[in-house]
């Protein structure tokens, strides 16, 4: 369970490279890995989103753009190249900054949001031994980092000097700050029950007894509250009020185009991925395979770990399967529900989620007490 940074430093220690260069290398390699994950994730998620929304709306989505000889058209899953085409378009598109906008802030805003997403990846373990740097305060770090994005959004809205983006920024600020409370409360449930703050401890606890979601009904309720308020945190329907197409044109992103807009897009999908990872780690047992809980009849010949598809590589596989299922649900929400109004959004957060989350914390501890007495 060593972090990549330590392992790189450890293995190259012996070589005659001066330590300062080594440290930089140790930081640079994981950095590139994270950036690649985010970029690839964005590309695939965009294509997924287009296709899923198309099929739910009785249309076909991108069909024509083929890539590397794979011509699109006529088959249901054509048009793979569409996202690459989009990426190239966004990178090559002219990046207009309105002249009476605050140039420096406007250029900075997308990078702040990007770093917000970037930092949380550091604390997120992909599998049993794959983590960039291991924090013993894991969950707390992730909650802290997820609130960095808000600054970027407010900055973007304010600096593009346009009434609509100002509206979008103000709404986003109110929404994201108020939804962090139910997220934090529902994550505390796990810490309360498993006793660990760091992620490996939590997953280990879940490996010992059972997935946290199956642990007690209140944990399931905690998962629901967490999942819905996380949808609000990443500004997705039915809570996409900051960039409400029909009212604010595109919210705080209105004045952005080209590369900076691509960064916003990248970090939005990265946030979705992070949130899905956190949900799968905390509630759905991270890199544990579902068969692990079911005690199978032991067949001696097969090695135990192979049978239940465990191990580092399968760990990553399971993490991504769970994340993709959750991302599919988020996209599913988007193409089914209308949008809440700002005050209704606040009502849902403060009048429904937070009371339920607080009650949950108490009830889950009572449930734990009962469990200890009886079993």
């Amino acid at each position: 369970m060593t972090s990549i940074v330590k392992s790189i430093v450890g293995s190259f220690e012996s070589l005659p490279i001066d330590p300062f260069l080594l440290a930089i290398l140790a930081i640079l390699v994981p950095g590139i890995i994270i950036f690649l994950i985010m970029a690839v994730n964005a590309l695939i998620a965009v294509y997924f989103e287009r296709k899923i929304s198309a099929f739910m709306q009785d249309r076909l989505g991108p069909m024509e753009v083929g890539i590397f000889g794979f011509k699109g058209g006529k088959k249901f899953w054509g048009g793979i190249g569409q996202t690459f085409a989009d990426a190239i378009k966004l990178l090559s598109k002219e990046d207009i900054i309105p002249n009476d906008a605050d140039r420096f802030l406007m250029m900075m805003a997308p990078f702040i949001i990007f770093t917000g997403a970037f930092l949380t990846f550091i604390g997120l373990p992909m599998s049993d031994s794959l983590v960039i740097s291991n924090f013993n305060i894991g969950i707390f770090y992730i909650i802290a980092m997820s609130s960095v994005g808000v600054i970027g959004i407010i900055l973007a809205g304010w600096s593009s000097n346009n009434k609509w983006s100002l509206y979008g920024a103000m709404r986003a600020a109110a929404q994201m700050i108020s939804y962090e409370i139910p997220i934090a409360l529902s994550l505390i449930l796990v810490v309360l029950v498993s006793g660990h703050l760091d992620i490996h401890g939590i997953v280990q606890w879940q490996a010992d007894n059972r997935w946290f979601i199956l642990h007690s009904p209140f944990a399931a309720l905690g998962f629901v509250i967490y999942f819905v308020s996380v949808v609000a945190e990443t500004n997705r329907t039915p809570f996409d009020i900051p960039e409400a197409e029909s009212e604010l044109v595109a919210g705080w992103m209105t004045e952005y185009s080209g590369f900076r807009w691509a960064l916003f897009f990248l970090s939005e999908y990265a946030n979705m991925l992070i949130v899905a990872f956190v949900a799968s780690i905390v509630f759905l047992g991270g890199w544990l395979s579902p068969f692990q809980m079911i005690d199978l009849p032991y067949i001696d010949i097969l090695p135990e770990s192979w049978l239940i598809l465990d191990g580092v590589v399968f760990g990553i596989f399971w993490m991504f399967v769970k994340a993709i299922i959750l991302i599919f649900c988020m996209m599913w929400f988007r193409w089914t529900f209308p949008r809440l109004r700002v005050d209704q959004l606040m009502y849902v957060c403060w009048k429904i989620f937070i009371p339920f989350a607080l009650a949950n914390v108490i009830l889950i501890s009572i449930w734990e007490l009962i469990r200890m007495w009886i079993f």
Binding site: M56, Q57, L60, G73, W332, F337
Partner: protein, 465 residues
């Protein structure tokens, strides 16, 4: 409190039904997808099951097509089109010659040659009103029920806008000769030439201009020692439009190289036609009449002036044509020509009349000390010749050039009978290629004779004159 919980439960229930609905659509996407993949599946018979065959149609709205050999040139479609996107020109052979134009498919005899049938598809609004009144059914929208005549074509995009102007008539020169339409061919050539000139931005060719300049300086001096028979005679007539009509007819008569008696009668008839007769006018006409005896000799004797008059005529024509920016090309020096043109444009924006423009140009040139005598002469020549135009209805050329006014202007006469007879007279006039003024005079006395003349036709004719 309970209402709070009911609301949540109800909310969750409706969420689930909604999500079930979208999932259902996601799952059986094969049948439900409604997209028509354009380049692969082409309208009108898409492969999927909404399938309707051509026989189902009784009408289709796509590009207009005309079978020109069926077209008898009855102009019905042109009249009925709400946006006037169809323009048709026809030539009727002169009375005597019996030219056989052949029969249409519905075997009606064709009586005239359709020389131009152009439809501006960028203007057409696809209302299909032109297809109904056509007696020969030769104009229709391609595809659909008339697939056998012409298959469907709805991808007719062009690079330039005038690519969408479809020309259907293609008369051969032999047919033109047969019908005696040489004048029409020339006008079409000159039109095309003007367009081509305009396209590569050439003004009037340079050297031809030079000739005019020398002539003009001679001509203006010529005018002074001439017999004194010039436009100034009519200056004592104070009524401005009357003076305009008189001078115009004087010009026209002079161009027709009439002798003085014919000229006097001609001006007289024009004045009566315009209803502007007044004592001073009559005196002026008398002056011209008795002018003939003393001055006849000099005007005929010098051969050279004839040539120069022709040249002057051209100059006149040049001067007479609308005084616009191009006529300033005569100024040699580039710098001063620029200043002159700038002044001209500025004057034009304040909508000054020609004289106002010339003063503005003189002013600008003086300030820039660029005024040379030669330019002075050129500008003054414009002052002398250009007559401020009589207010005439828009659409008619400001100064009546040689050719006849357009027959379509007679369409404004409401009463069918009056319009018919007016057109008959017009055609007669056209055949005898009379001038606009004469034809109008004939129409006027024709209508007054048959008692169909009323005041709005009267001012209509005055408007055309």
């Amino acid at each position: 409190m309970s209402e709070y919980f009911i609301e949540i439960v109800n909310g969750v229930k409706t969420f689930l039904t909604g999500m079930k609905m979208t999932l259902k659509h996601y799952n059986n996407k094969e049948e439900l997808v409604a997209t028509l993949q354009y380049p692969h599946e082409k309208w009108p018979i898409p492969e999927r099951n909404i399938g309707f065959e051509n026989s189902e149609y009784n009408l289709i709205r796509s590009r207009l097509h005309v079978d020109i050999d069926d077209c008898i040139g009855c102009l019905q479609c042109e009249k009925v089109c709400p946006v006037d996107c169809i323009t048709i020109d026809t030539i009727k052979p002169p009375k005597g010659t019996d030219v056989d134009f052949g029969m249409t498919s519905l075997d009606t005899q064709k009586k005239m040659l359709v020389t131009r049938f152009s439809i501006d598809m960028s203007e057409c609004m696809y209302c299909n009103l032109c297809a109904y009144p056509c007696p020969e059914e030769c104009i229709y929208m391609v595809g659909g029920p008339n697939e056998h005549k012409h298959e469907i074509d709805y991808e007719f995009s062009q690079y330039k806008r005038d690519g969408l102007i479809y020309e259907f008539a293609d008369p051969t020169d032999a047919q033109f000769a047969e019908v005696g339409g040489e004048a029409y061919v020339e006008s079409r050539q000159s039109q095309k030439q003007k367009l081509v000139d305009g396209e590569n931005l050439e003004g009037i060719v340079e050297e031809e201009k030079k000739v005019v300049v020398i002539e003009e300086s001679q001509e203006s001096t010529k005018k002074d020692d001439d017999s004194g028979l010039s436009l100034k005679i009519f200056n004592n007539v104070d009524d401005k439009p009357a003076r305009g009509v008189a001078k115009k007819s004087f010009q026209a008569a002079k161009r027709g190289a009439m002798d003085y008696i014919a000229m006097a009668d001609y001006i007289n008839s024009a004045i009566i036609a315009a209803g502007k007769s007044s004592p001073e006018m009559a005196a002026a006409i008398e002056l011209i009449k008795n002018y003939k005896d003393e001055v006849v000799a000099p005007s005929q004797s010098e051969p050279s002036p004839d040539i120069s008059t022709n040249v002057i005529l051209e100059a006149d024509d040049l001067g007479a044509t609308l005084f616009d920016v191009k006529s300033l090309n005569g100024i040699e020096d580039k710098m001063s020509r620029g200043i002159a043109k700038k002044a001209f444009i500025a004057a034009k924006r304040e909508v000054l009349d020609d004289n106002g423009k010339i003063d503005a140009i003189k002013l600008a040139l003086n300030e820039a000390e660029k005024m040379t005598s030669e330019i002075e002469v050129l500008l003054s020549s414009f002052v002398a010749i250009t007559i401020n135009p009589v207010e005439s209805t828009p659409g008619v050329s400001l100064i009546p050039d040689v050719s006849l006014f357009d027959i379509k202007l007679l369409n404004d006469i409401d009463d069918k009978m009056a319009r018919g007879s007016a057109k008959k007279v017009y055609m007669a006039g056209k055949r005898g290629n009379k001038l606009t003024i004469e034809v109008l005079a004939d129409i006027r006395n024709e209508l007054t004779g048959s008692g169909m003349m009323d005041d709005d036709i009267d001012n209509l004719i005055k408007g055309i004159g």
